[in-house]
């Protein structure tokens, strides 16, 4: 098996925050901790608005693992990056290292006491007996041990957010892109960054004049 990954289709995400709610509900995440959130670019601009759901990406070469001073991170055989909360000292190094802002720190008290790190577990729990009360309390539900996928991906109404084996979800996305019928323009450099490097910018067509003038 390849590695468990999330893939969010920005063409489909409608910023409903269903994934955020599903995650909160499934794992009973405390107030102020957002394991998953939806980021929107060009909010309110007609035709240019794009949303994407972001959580821990379970990196193959995770920077959080590299910087942790107490080595509390580990990777499961399915490629899910998890951590041991009993070992975490809440230093916040992982938060600075993570390019996605995935590590979250519960805050309490008048002076914002920082607790142990909490992050998306790909609904795979943590280093406690699977499906036990202790695991649920510390890490949330272990859906992988129930033969299920993360709640956020399974609850996504538009199926913008896909979760699972990287190879399988990449195939789903690829087929989806092909069906959209915009061919190679939908995926690749020109869709992501505009024109190809070194290419000339597209020639602007003169605006058609209306019948009134």
């Amino acid at each position: 098996m390849a590695r468990m990954k999330f893939l969010c289709d920005a063409e489909r995400c409608i910023e409903c925050n269903g994934c955020v709610t599903a995650c909160k509900n499934e794992n009973e995440v405390p107030w102020g901790v957002n394991r998953r959130r939806v980021v929107t670019l060009n909010d309110g601009v007609v035709g240019a608005e794009k949303s994407i759901s972001v959580a821990c990406m379970h990196c193959s070469d995770a920077p959080c693992m590299a910087v942790c001073p107490v080595d509390c991170f580990y990777r499961t055989d399915d490629g899910v990056v998890l951590h041991d909360k009993d070992l975490c000292i809440g230093c916040g190094y992982c938060f600075y290292a993570c390019p996605f802002g995935a590590p979250q720190f519960p805050q309490a008290g008048a002076f914002g006491l920082r607790g142990k790190m909490d992050k998306c577990t790909f609904c795979a729990g943590g280093p406690e007996p699977d499906r036990s009360e202790a695991e649920f309390r510390k890490y949330g539900r272990n859906r992988l041990a129930e033969g299920k996928l993360p709640a956020c991906a399974e609850m996504c109404s538009t199926k913008a957010l896909l979760g699972g084996d990287g190879d399988v979800i990449a195939d789903i996305y690829r087929e989806r892109v092909l069906r959209r019928g915009r061919g190679a323009d939908l995926w690749g450099w020109s869709s992501a960054y505009g024109v190809k490097p070194g290419a000339q910018p597209p020639v602007q067509q003169p605006a058609t004049t209306s019948g009134k003038s």
Binding site: M1, M65, A66, C68, V70, D71, C72, F73, Y74, T76, D77, D78, L82, H83, D84, D86, L87, A124, G125, G126, P127, E128, P129, D130, R131, N142, L144, A145, E146, G147, K148, L149, A153, E154, K159, L162, G163, G164, D165, V168, I169, I172, E175, R176, R179
Partner: protein, 81 residues
């Protein structure tokens, strides 16, 4: 005595030419926490909980089960076929 002083002076002079490696070599840390179970080491849930079905301890059957679940996200295959 003079010879000893010369040898010491030469040794000191040569020591100044030496250069120690100043690049820090980071070592990959090793997980220090508690061991975790594998997902397939558990029993499947009773049917009413709508979980996957696999043989306890058999990774391949668990992977097959989870793959079926993954393909359910593929609405083109799920709805149109």
């Amino acid at each position: 005595m003079m010879r000893l002083a010369l040898v010491l002076a030469a040794a000191l002079a040569i020591a100044g030419c030496g250069e120690k490696e100043q690049v820090v070599v980071y070592k990959q840390g090793k997980y220090q926490g508690k061991p975790d179970n594998q997902s397939w080491a558990n029993e499947p849930l009773p049917a009413e909980f709508r979980g996957g079905t696999w043989k306890q301890g058999d990774r391949t059957s668990w992977e097959e089960s989870i793959k079926k679940r993954q393909l359910a996200q593929h609405e083109h295959r799920r709805i149109y076929q």
